[in-house]
Symmetry: C2
Subunit: 321 residues, 2 copies
């Protein structure tokens, strides 16, 4: 069993090369630029770990992992256009650097390239993996659409937000693991348990992400605390606060959202704390994390094979009491 760090290094060795032809450079150079911006490469490593949970890593697992990482980068390039994001990882986004038309087409061809890597999977496994990949890709698009829709909506219910997060973030983590498991020759029951592990881990991760944006230690968190609050972003925290605040708190919260007072972050955080949103979020995160680990426990392989996944989950989502 190999650790996340080791597999991540090995994946980088496979992945860090040119993925596209030289010409037309106006199309392909933007993609190579974007891929060089890096990233944690969590999803491809999940493919490899899903494979290794059941068997030695197969040659074509690296192709699958590459496909998944390219797919993820396709979604980032197009999401950045839709979100009008100027920067990603501190560098210019593709559309900012090269224009929207190029970013649109570069994203398209990044997706096609993902399918090119996918098509190299052994014939026995290609069909079920392609099926899951397609379903997941469609769900990720749906998640992005719900996200854009919810931005325009005044009220979003917790279950709607949860489903959006699931589609936009969780299903790709879950599918990465499951596609790896398919390549590992796993049976369907184990595949599905692993999928559920990934799905719930993804939700726990997002709850934590929302939590840290409001309550995180700025030094550890690495970005400005309260960014979501300033942007009126609908998060687990804000949605729960709006659903549980009393009449006075609700009025105050709505005024804070409508206006932009200089102490907006402090004021909103105070209401969050009064509503015990912070405690609720930690409980919610722990609930999903516990459920994720339960699914992992239920998978019928020796626990020592599961160790890297356990470690990774604990690294991504810290258990808090």
């Amino acid at each position: 069993m190999q650790s996340f760090e080791l597999l991540s290094q090995k994946f980088a060795f496979h992945f860090d090369k040119a993925h596209f032809p030289e010409a037309p450079s106006t199309l392909y150079q933007p993609n190579e630029y974007f891929l060089k911006l890096g990233g944690k490469r969590v999803r491809p490593v999940l493919c490899l770990m899903g494979n290794e949970l059941f068997d030695d890593i197969r040659e074509d697992a690296w192709e699958l992992a590459t496909a998944v990482e390219l797919f993820h980068n396709f979604t980032l390039i197009h999401d950045d256009i839709m979100d009008k994001a100027p920067l990603r990882r501190g560098m210019q986004t593709v559309h900012t650097k090269y224009g929207e038309n190029t970013a649109l087409l570069a994203g398209d061809v990044m997706l096609v390239k993902a399918y090119e890597y996918l098509s190299r999977i052994d014939g026995d496994f290609l069909k079920p993996i392609l099926h899951l990949f397609n379903q997941t890709a469609r769900e990720v698009c749906e998640g992005q659409q719900w996200d854009m829709d919810y931005e325009k909506q005044e009220t979003v219910h917790l279950d709607e937000y949860l489903r959006m997060i699931e589609l936009k973030t969780s299903v790709l983590l879950a599918a990465s693991l499951k596609m790896g498991a398919i390549l590992g020759g796993s049976g369907e029951r184990n595949q599905n348990l692993l999928y559920e592990f990934g799905r719930k881990l993804g939700i726990a991760f997002q709850v934590q992400d929302d939590y840290l944006d409001a309550f995180g230690d700025p030094e550890k968190f690495g970005k400005q605390v309260g960014g979501d609050i300033l942007a009126n972003k609908k998060t687990f925290l804000l949605i729960h606060a709006l659903e549980t605040a009393n009449a006075g708190q609700l009025e105050e919260l709505k005024q804070l959202i409508a206006g932009n007072p200089p102490d907006k972050v402090e004021q909103v955080l105070r209401i969050f704390k009064d509503c015990k949103v912070d405690e609720w979020a930690i409980e919610l995160k722990n609930k999903y994390l516990d459920e994720a680990f339960q699914h992992l426990d239920d998978i019928a392989v020796l626990s020592k094979r599961k160790q890297p996944l356990t470690d990774l989950a604990r690294f991504l989502v810290q258990r808090e009491h």
Copy 2:
């Protein structure tokens, strides 16, 4: 052997239904709207004809044909964004009606849906078809990029324009036929001959399209003659004129391109005729059409099986002397 008309009707029977789930309707309704705008459905019928050239049409040929048509519509939705086209087939384009973000994401999910249909192809044929589909999809994106690049370039050589047309238009026609042939159990030699038939037919079609825009009968052509000239579009005609005009004609042509005199179309057409661009274009079209038919002739099946393809080619590209 079934005619284009019959196969087109049968394809419409399969295709004219909802291809997407109900929700999120903000994402899927735009796609259903666009698909209802119709079209000649040439590419899916080419898949069916490619299959039927070698065997009875298989069940999964309809899935392949649907995938190809959805892929084609994906390219139209995204090209319309890039070209800032307000209308298609006389109706609002997706980005005009629903906004650019929705059109971007709707196009993405249309492409994913194409792969969903593709994944239903029988396991024996899935891998080679997916391989060709991916290669073609990438080439079509490259063609669109060259097209955008050439718009900004002052001079484009004929061989560059030809390659762009090949990528943007021909390879999908060619691949549609070849993917059908793969499903029909055809050998590689016949597959490749059929691909070349489609590739050259596509070029002949584009030469004709450029020709008709300048020299076509407005009544028969169905759109304003000279549109390409007014838009300074680089076409087979303009590129050849710029390459063959004498010094005086060249100077005049460049001034007409730079300016927009009221009689621009007439003036440019006069130079085209003086340079015999019209005769040259007809010869070029006939050359590609003849070569296309030579490839079709060389395919080792009974000629009566080829009849629908011959008819379709003659319908799409009229031989002129």
